[in-house]
């Protein structure tokens, strides 16, 4: 149990020691090798890198070089990433066998040139802040990710950790706290964008003997890993925010509902909770102020629907994860029937910063209706796959092209999918839309939790809709009819279309079904499940019609209706395609223009890739 003074002492001492982490001109004699220990880099052997580096340092007894495991740096495409501070040397695609060279170069005062990262334009990046990936980003929720060791509470404390809680408990009333959060304009980052201050106010106004704070860490969108990265890189920021929320609404117990598929995040949370309890930052009489707050972890089994707040509550209570009817809303009747605030991880990760920097600071960032920043998991056909945090109002074009580095392989941008299986597809014509909750909804998509998947012109939109429906069909809880049977029927129609068995009337049926499922379903899952269909129908109707009427999929993704042909005009009779074809479907001899025997062709696309004259398609 530590007093305010003791925590302050740790903070100032540790902050001094860790100055090199954030100050490129630090005079520190120490140098820290930061190695990403997030899920992505871990799966490409970053733990081995850490082990090797530490072993070498120990064997050679090198002073003043420390190896630190951190959370995600964001640029996952370049992982495993190693950053050396204070000089900010950024090494990409590091392998365990590179460790010797890294240490040697540090001793020599040089850099390992071959490990330096190349930017999109091909320039070699000497320092992290030269990377175009980071230039338009603003890190608030991810502030500590990649800077601190998430398993060391002192490092968190060093960077203003638990200062917001101290401020709240010693100088603010619960109403003050809620007023600040309300004034900041913070909205729920889980997807729906409900004003956080309002949610807290509703819950505070409820009279009850017990209230709860629940952190929704059941990130379920395919390809999304914002929350996971925050929990892996900066778990205390979530714990601290939950305690602040508890103080604001009058709750003394919190639950974190996190999926069991996030073992690193779960482990870091466990460590963080243990350390916070040891310091008296969780438990009774925090900072001697009488504030009591503790947190328990509840593991989810990975059902998508359990990200829906009421289904999540059911699951925490040990019941089948399926949504409750609203009203009553959780703020009045939530966990175990008690008033409950449920906030998403990223929402919570903003709280301490708002408390410390003020509502005005926060609300100066973003757009009229959406304040602050948003973290996106950028994936798909984009060069810089990774985690990005940008101010609200940043355009899709900036994210995809400036930060994301554009589309690989010289292909064209076709669409971006936001909001996962609940979101929609945004075509090129809307690339310049400033992203916020309202603008995304207006163009038929949604913010969602922050999945952002970029698709190039090789992607079939009907097939894409089918992919998302496959997901929803699997993840529907089965409670209400429209979602349980309706999504299945939508999928069946999409399968028909992709197999060339669909008709124009099927498109009509599909659309009608989508509209009615949206209106009639119980929860957010069902109400948004038709979005991928509706948005692609809206922007790519021609493609649907081609599947239904012409029985053709131009992208060749729908094999059943793909017909690969050779353009006689372009064919130079080189015969390369013929050699490459794995099923000998290409006919013609010597100087003949080659022809594809459609009966034999398996539509693998090998010939298309082989043809030097782009004659096949």
């Amino acid at each position: 149990m530590k007093t305010i003074e003791e925590i302050e002492k740790i903070r100032s001492e540790k902050r001094q020691e860790l100055d090199l982490r954030v100050n490129v001109n630090s005079s520190s004699i120490e140098r820290h090798i930061l190695v990403c220990h997030g899920t992505g880099c871990t799966s490409s052997k970053s733990p081995k890198i850490i082990e090797n580096l530490r072993r070498i340092i120990e064997e050679r007894n090198i002073p003043n070089i420390r190896v630190i495991q951190t959370g995600c740096f964001g640029l996952c495409a370049k992982g495993p990433i190693v950053i050396i501070r204070p000089e900010e040397t950024f090494y990409a695609h590091v392998k365990p066998e590179d460790c010797e060279d890294i240490i040697n170069s540090m001793c020599d005062g040089t850099r390992v040139e071959r490990l330096l990262c190349k930017d999109i334009d091909g320039t070699i990046v000497q320092k992290l802040d030269e990377l175009s990936f980071y230039k338009k980003q603003k890190r608030i929720a991810l502030k500590n990710c990649g800077i601190i060791d998430p398993e060391n509470i002192d490092e968190y404390i060093a960077f203003d950790g638990y200062k917001a809680l101290e401020k709240v408990l010693t100088s603010m009333s619960p109403d003050d706290v809620i007023n600040v959060i309300s004034a900041s304009g913070l909205r729920g980052r889980g997807g729906a964008g409900f004003p956080t201050g309002k949610k807290w106010t509703f819950c505070k106004n409820e009279v009850a003997d017990q209230k709860y704070i629940v952190c929704n860490a059941d990130e379920g969108d395919p390809g999304a890993f914002m929350d996971r990265s925050i929990l892996e890189g900066d778990p205390h920021s979530v714990l601290e925010a939950m305690s602040i929320a508890g103080y604001a609404i009058g709750a003394n117990q919190g639950y974190i509902y996190v999926r069991a598929e996030y073992p690193i995040a779960v482990q870091r949370l466990k460590i963080a909770i243990k350390q916070a309890r040891e310091y008296g930052l969780l438990g009774d009489n925090i900072f001697g102020t009488g504030h009591k707050f503790d947190i328990e972890i509840r593991l989810g089994a990975g059902a998508f629907v359990c990200g829906e707040e009421t289904a999540l509550l059911e699951s925490v209570e040990g019941k089948r994860g399926q949504p409750r009817l609203k009203p009553p809303y959780p703020a009045s009747k939530g966990l175990f029937g008690k008033p409950t605030v449920i906030n998403n991880v990223e929402t919570l990760a903003n709280i301490t910063k708002i408390i410390l920097n003020g509502a005005e600071w926060y609300s100066s960032i973003g757009t009229e209706t959406s304040k602050g920043t948003k973290v996106f998991a950028l994936g798909g056909n984009v060069n810089n796959v990774g985690l990005v945090e940008v101010p609200m109002g940043t355009t899709l074009r900036e994210i995809v092209f400036d930060i994301g580095g554009g589309i690989p392989n010289g292909r064209e941008f076709k669409a971006a999918q936001t909001g996962g299986p609940s979101g929609g597809c945004i075509p090129a014509e809307h690339l310049d839309t400033p992203i916020d909750y309202e603008s995304l909804a207006a163009i038929g998509s949604m913010m969602g939790s922050g999945g952002l998947i970029v698709m190039d012109d090789t992607k079939c939109m009907v097939n894409l809709a089918k992919f998302y429906l496959e997901f929803t069909v699997k993840e529907s809880c089965g409670k209400c009819t429209p979602c349980r049977i309706g999504t299945k029927r939508m999928l069946e129609i999409l399968e028909k279309l992709c197999n060339g068995k669909g008709t124009e009337y099927d498109i009509y049926k599909l659309e009608k079904l989508a509209i009615n499922i949206k209106k009639a379903s119980v929860c957010g899952l069902g109400q948004s499940a038709p979005n991928p269909v509706l948005s692609t129908l809206n922007y790519f109707r021609e493609e649907y019609l081609k599947h239904a009427v012409d029985k053709v999929c131009d992208t060749h993704e729908c094999k059943a209706i793909t017909k690969i042909t050779i353009d006689e005009e372009k064919c130079r009779s080189c015969g390369l395609c013929q050699k490459a074809c794995p099923v000998s479907a290409i006919e013609g001899e010597a100087r003949d223009k080659r022809k594809i025997n459609q009966d034999k062709c398996i539509k693998c696309g090998t010939c298309i890739a082989t043809c030097p004259f782009k004659a096949i398609g």
Partner: protein, 583 residues
Amino acid sequence: MEENLITLTIDGIEVKAPKGTTVLEAARKVGIDIPTLCFLKEINEVGDCRICIVEIEGRRGFATSCVQTIEEGMVVHTNTKEVQDARRTVLDLILSNHVKECLTCSRSGNCELQNLCEKFNIQTIEYEGEMTKHEIDDKSPSIVRDFNKCILCRRCVSTCKKVQEIGAIDCTGRGFESCVSTTYDNSLNEVDCTFCGQCIESCPTGALHEKENINDVILKLKDPDVYTVVQTAPAVRVALGEEFGFPIGTNVKGKMVTSLRRLGFDKVFDTNTGADFTIMEEANEFVERFTKNECLPMITSCSPGWVRFAEKNYGDLLNHLSSCKSPHQMFGAVIKSYFAEKYGIDKNKICVVSIMPCVAKKYEATRPEMEVDGVRDVDYVLTTRELARLIKQENIDFNTLEDSNFDDPMGEASGAGAIFGTTGGVMEAAIRTAVDTLENKSIDRLEYHEVRGEKGIKETSLNINGTEIRIAVASGLANARKLMDQIRRGESPYHFIEIMACPGGCVTGGGQPIKSSKIRAEVDVRKLRADALYDIDEKSTVRKSHENPAIKEIYGSYLQKPGSELAEKLLHTHYTPKEKYEI
């Protein structure tokens, strides 16, 4: 009063209703019939099926009218094109995954899904596709589950879980693969199901029904070598008429007896007489236990669902149960002994068929204990519903039949026997006899209103010769559990407890005519049927079991006295603790 009412507008009509009223109820008040499917008042208010959706101005998405409570100034539209389209789509989707075997379904004509199709003028089904396929579970002697007809409304689940607090069935699987199932997907036979059959009563379609024995009975009826005897439980006569268009609670005893005779039964007896036997034995058993202060409280054992529940959950307290067989089992044993001997009929050639308001009775009749010297007490049990089907199948025009009476010598029962069919009835009947026995004279008081009515647990006490007898009556297994837990904790203040598995008792048993959700919301079916039984009792000349002349005769000439060696052999049984899951 006026100021407590909330005013809202539904389809342009101003409606005033008390706080807490749902939009559905408010709409029905003014003649707007919003369709429902999963809704079952106070039991399943979950809003799953989405058929009852309505538009409320200012709300995002549609509201679920069955659970949405009204608010001041609310403007509701129940019939817009959008609402109708969405409802129609929902119904289309349900039909796309429903085995449409209406022609061969026992619920045809009384199916809420079929009725909706008529209401929606369904002539084609817009969507079709893969259908979930499930094996039919017909391993239990009582209940058949055909999940292919299930529409996942979960009325059965809520009934089992919330009303009976058993939870033998629940939803498993996810999404399209969701289904209502049991522990490890076992047969109802092998899990904690008590066969009360309340799930059948709540099912809107044919996904749950009794294990039919109609054909077995027809074979016996058509066999000249078999002497068929039928007996009908008290609650059947006040419900059977409903299957032929009579109002709920009509006593059709006369037509029922005539129809049974037309069906070819050689004798038509009244289980009410069986009930009189039960009272003779049970009252005697109680007086004995009470005087010796042994195994109190004593608990009735007429309800086989309750007995199975006790065996599965309270194996340690089975000595509290009366050792009496239930009335139809007693009567079966008497028919195959006393009656067979008296009329010189080979007991092995007698087939006893019981018409019961119950599906657990089918199980009870198969219990190994229910036989005397290798001869089964009862051969077949048909539910009230099955009897109606049998009558229709055999081309009997029920509605035009003349009335007739049960056969002698056991045709005339007491009023006490009649009220066996409702919660509190067994207790009231037993009190009438026990009090006379304890006081050793005929007491004038006949009616004990404290044990009548709809309450789940009713209690009262009697003062007999200065001694207090404390009594409780429970119906519904959730209530039974409360009383049993009290006994287990050693805190039960009672001497005598009546328990019936079904809420309301046999009148609303699992074998009775099935009433739609709408009727159940609007009419107290239990009360109407129970009132008819109390009416029979009131009009009976003999209202105490021990004063029934037939009973007197049989005890005088055959059984000697209650609890005699022969009575023990024929009329009593025993219980065995059972595993909850027989896997």
